[in-house]
Symmetry: C2
Subunit: 386 residues, 2 copies
């Protein structure tokens, strides 16, 4: 196992009823002004907004609303939130939603504390923020695993880059699987596929040797696959939703990455696709993954063969390593079809005239996987996805 | 998945060379006086003591030595450490050793802050300490997983009870697998078996349903079994030692327990055996586990069958659930023999006239497993272990 540093400070309150039971007490540790951040307003229809506002009011907090955080949150939205937080001397940001709301709020929490432009700091000075407004999250859609780390994916519309920024890690995160019951099934599945993608991206990182993180990762992947299948026939199944909720956090809380180097190739390609088309993140990943893996497979057949056997349960008997490896990638492709996710850009609704060359050329890979793809190869992959 | 709260604040510095690279910087965050706690002094022969003292001196720290922490650390030793820490106004306790040193220091860190007797507070008032001297650990023997939690096992010699107390959780923990290279192989294996035991004790807790923690647990158990076997033929193998080191922490950092209730029956029985005989912890567990599981098996045959298949790789074809379950327990028993651990109390060196009835009667179980054993059943198990 490679050397590593690991810490994760977020306190997780997991399960139904957690917000009602614990949020009030938690609020006592923070100042009077709470920024309540959320997305398109669905929380106003399913009772979550009323529940939280009731608790904030009961705790005597002044509420500063920061609504309208979009999917693929923009850097402009971050600036809007930071201005609001500064002007109102916000003491705590409460991010209520999925990964987009959480990611946006992480960067708001940092941007509100400094005058310099965080995008420039990260991308030109390679400096990361160190001061933050405290952050808490209440997750209503699972998949990004944003709730237990300090990473954020933000779209800079002018630059046409969907890139990583770093902000506050939440002090606390409420993960109540019942909050997902009113989320459209398509979005639930898309989120769960994002979890599977995070696990796969880490699993196909380096090194390949005996590594406990990979063993644990296989367990997470199998659990995600199994529980997505449960939801296909029993959509309100609490057990399956709760397993997927915790798997979402586990895939991105650092545990799977211990001792590994990863470059999240599929995510990096999809992010640029998102920057150019604003497509759904999980759906974009679903289209790209099998095509990407068919390209990567020759560079690490043994690892793909292990993936086939240990994640997809494919019997290796009578198969060459190559055939076994290929069967694993095709099992992934079949699974994507089975769960109703798109398998081509056309199905995903990507306009046929999208400049895929520009998407490929703007994708930045760091080489943490078995093969560092060239921009030409990325372009080939994107064309095959059409 | 059951509701749960989870947090783990310990920052882990894992891998060879970590102390040299990071300890000096870390010390800047603490006051001038550091209590350097260790065991029988083996660290003075393998260079670890000199390395740490050099770093402490370079950082200008005043060192208060607290040596001689024994295996199965006593409550009297805790009091000695607490007095020393108080008298010297210690700012940081640095626990260098295995679980015994870490456990002792956790309780020292709490007892130094209060006048009341912590044993009484825990066992009569059921109150846990809230104030601590900061603690850091440098692990030299793996297995207890003490480095990433706040639990401690302390032997109260007068009361003849080896019981749990709660103290500081380490701010930081250095896990350098090369530090184990000078530890006798018997102790390395005993520690690794303790890790396996922690995982099993959790796995056989409640509930049995679909639970990501169980899937992850199986991965940890398989890794421990695989890597102990590597050490049997290649004792200095760094990869195996590092995998076992991280598995040790993973088994007790709370991740495997998420959503589960456990009562650690084997540990509770072994603790009382230890209180009466001061036997080696891992070795005591090795003797008791198979006998205990033969008794528990009828109460949860399905779970033992899953254990057989998913942990020991036993082919279920042609076997009834009962036969499969039994094969799993016998695989565990055979493994214990294979790795040279004792299989009877006689082999372990427990005196034949040990009052096993008193051991049984003083064992406290909480019923977190498939069956809450009576004192008579525990006595039967202990007699079968002879």
């Amino acid at each position: 196992m490679n050397n590593f540093l690991f810490e994760n400070k977020t306190k997780v309150y997991f399960g139904k009823g957690g917000v009602k039971e614990y949020l009030g007490c938690l609020l006592e540790h923070y100042g009077d002004t709470v920024m309540l951040a959320y997305g398109g307003g669905s929380i106003k229809h399913n009772g979550i907004y009323d529940e939280i506002v009731g608790i904030l009011n009961a705790a005597g907090k002044r509420i500063v609303e920061f609504p309208g955080i979009m999917s693929n949150p923009t850097y402009a939205k971050v600036q809007e939130g930071a201005k609001l937080a500064r002007e109102n001397h916000v003491d705590l940001i409460l991010a209520v939603g999925g990964g987009s709301v959480s990611d946006c709020c992480k960067v708001v929490s940092a941007q509100a504390k400094v005058d310099e432009d965080l995008w420039e700091l990260e991308n030109t000075k390679h400096t990361r923020p160190t001061e933050f407004i405290p952050l808490g999250t209440i997750v209503t859609v699972f998949g990004t695993g944003s709730e237990m780390n300090n990473g954020a994916v933000i779209t800079h519309e002018e630059k046409k880059i969907k890139g990583a920024l770093w902000g506050a890690q939440a002090d606390f995160a409420f993960l109540d699987p019942t909050y997902t019951l009113s989320v459209p099934m398509k979005q639930v599945i898309s989120g769960a596929f994002d979890t599977l993608s995070h696990a796969m991206e880490t699993y196909f990182g380096k090194p390949d040797e005996n590594n406990l993180s990979d063993d644990i990762n296989e367990a997470v992947m199998r659990s995600v696959i199994r529980n997505i299948r449960v939801l296909l026939t029993d959509k309100d199944n609490y057990e399956a939703r709760s397993e997927l909720a915790w798997a979402s956090a586990m895939a991105e809380n650092g545990i799977l990455k211990i001792g590994k180097v990863t470059d999240f190739q599929c995510h990096m390609i999809e992010h640029q696709l998102g920057a150019y088309t604003n497509c759904n993140h999980g759906a974009g990943l679903a289209v790209i993954h099998p095509v990407l893996y068919r390209h990567l497979l020759p560079a690490n057949t043994a690892r793909f063969a292990r993936f086939a056997q240990n994640v997809w349960g494919i019997d290796p008997a009578g198969k060459s390593e190559l055939k076994l490896a290929q069967a694993g990638v095709e099992a992934l492709a079949a699974f994507i079809k089975e769960i109703g996710m798109p398998t081509t850009f056309a199905e995903l609704g990507i306009p046929a005239d999208t400049d895929l060359k520009a998407v490929a050329d703007s994708t930045v890979l760091t080489g943490g996987c078995c093969k560092k793809l060239s921009h030409d190869e990325i372009y080939e992959i994107l064309k095959e996805c059409k």
